[in-house]
Symmetry: C2
Subunit: 277 residues, 2 copies
DNA sequence: CATGGGCAATACCCTGGAGGTATGGAGACA
DNA sequence: TGTCTCCATACCTCCAGGGTATTGCCCATG
């Protein structure tokens, strides 16, 4: 099976219409029909039900749609990773969201620089959704992810640090003076608790603004504390879900530079915090 | 990048010789050379060092070799899974080694049969090395694996049961009467302890024969006990590494039949043992 | 029931590129 | 320096993948 055929198939599977799929692929409909027929003949299995008006995926077709997407992702990642490995200056691309390193990054970078296998480190600061994607598609080598907020499917990983939860409230807030709170207290408050009820806010600045205005109370890993606006304060949440900061990289990857980075990061995390993972 | 090109590249990367690679691929050397050149041009990156006598992989080439293997495995798996999904009678193929189900399989099968999404279950009994491979390459849907003896890389999994370790010794052995032993005692014994020092024995019959002859002491999960030869006995190892029996299936897979099987197995395991995972 | 429209399949042609053969050319080693 | 090895280049062939024109089938609609 050639990747071209898989791309053709996936286009038809998504459009469920040979004509539109062909247009999307920049080709005519008949060769596309033939390519799919050929694929079906080779696999010995029908992929589409063509019963009159419109087509639909057979169960085999549904399986192949999934698999084809996997393969095409892997091919795209292979291209990106190979290209990057071929650049003259070897670099390690690290993806993280601002403040998403649990405060460990400066020490990790300093310790890593001393390592014999170390290469230049490039930091990519990005939003929450892109981070894992950047590693999956080969743009980045490794990312700081937060469990349980992000999926580790398809990654190898190394836990670095476990963080407790804090509630973020305006400086003058009723809870601001307390030594700690519990989740139940926060939920009892008339102010909505993020991310329990407002999972659709993805921009931290917006979120913090809403907190400052008293429209929300936010819960976050304790490492956000140093980066917080001055008009907000943190209160530890005793029974909040702990967050684990992990380094995640693609399975089967084992460049010396990456291995050194992971080992350094792990050592730094262990040195800086009593109980890592 | 077409899969054909990746296969070509991988052949050359493995042989490190265009002539031999071409022979292996059943083609002439010049078109192979050209195909690789084209690939290098498209990627914008040299994949081989061609400095006189012999060739070698560049660092980009090493990356692509890994990635190409991943892609080709994914393509092979896609073919196998699609073909199997297209067969008239839907089946769930379960791979396990004899006795590798932790004694759970009969109950799981019985419970599964009652499930609305259940399909015919086909059991593939196989050796330890093939089990994960069968799932990876799409021949099987799901396998019973043993942690930490087997890698879960690339799989989703569900832990079913945690088992203690037992030492296997001949019936008349010095340790046979004891209520339990510790690893240190076993290591102190002049008889070599498997798998610590004899990891190269893969055939259980051979292994058991060696144990019966007093040439080895074997450590294994406790669920081997019912299948043991009558001339051997088990002694619990108090501080032996516990084994977790898990169900493992390919990431991103979610057929109804498989989901039903996993959920059933998990429920059965929870019912039969106090503390699963 | 007849007709028209939408859409995939078929028929037929054409071109680019994959593959083959012959040969060149650059190191390595005697 | 000559020769051997092995990859690259030159040149040719042919087929597979792509295009255009058309048919065939199903369904909707009057």
């Amino acid at each position: 099976m050639e990747t071209r055929e898989l791309a053709y198939f996936l286009a038809v599977a998504e459009e469920l219409h040979f004509g539109r799929a062909a247009e999307r692929l920049g080709m005519a409909q008949p060769p596309l029909s033939r390519a799919i027929q050929k694929l079906e003949r080779r696999l010995g299995v029908p992929l589409f039900d063509r019963s009159g008006r419109g087509i639909s995926l057979t169960s085999a077709g549904e399986v192949l749609a999934r698999e084809a997407a996997t393969v095409l992702d892997a091919v795209a990642a292979a291209t990106a990773r190979t290209r990057r490995a071929g650049r003259a200056d070897p670099r390690l691309v690290v993806a993280l969201k601002p403040g998403g390193d649990g405060g460990l990054l400066p020490d990790i970078l300093e310790a890593y620089r001393a390592h014999p296998d170390a290469v230049e480190v490039e930091l990519v600061l990005c939003g929450v959704a892109q981070r894992a994607q950047l590693v999956r598609d080969g743009t980045a080598d490794v990312a700081f992810l937060h469990i349980p907020y992000e999926e580790l499917t398809g990654f190898d990983s190394e836990p670095l640090r476990v963080e407790g939860s804090v509630a973020i409230v305006p400086r003058g807030h009723r809870l601001a003076g307390q030594a700690f709170v519990r989740v139940a207290e926060l939920e009892a408050d008339p102010t909505p608790l993020w991310p329990r009820r407002h999972a659709d806010i993805n921009d931290p600045a917006t979120l913090m603004q809403l907190v400052a205005l008293g429209r929300l109370i936010a819960m976050a890993p304790e490492s956000v504390t140093p980066h917080l606006r001055r008009d907000l304060v943190c209160v530890p949440v005793l029974d909040g879900t702990p967050t684990t900061v992990v380094l995640a990289w693609p399975e089967r990857t084992r460049s010396r530079a990456l291995a050194a980075f992971v080992r350094t990061a792990s050592a730094v995390a262990e040195r800086l915090s009593p109980a890592p993972g």
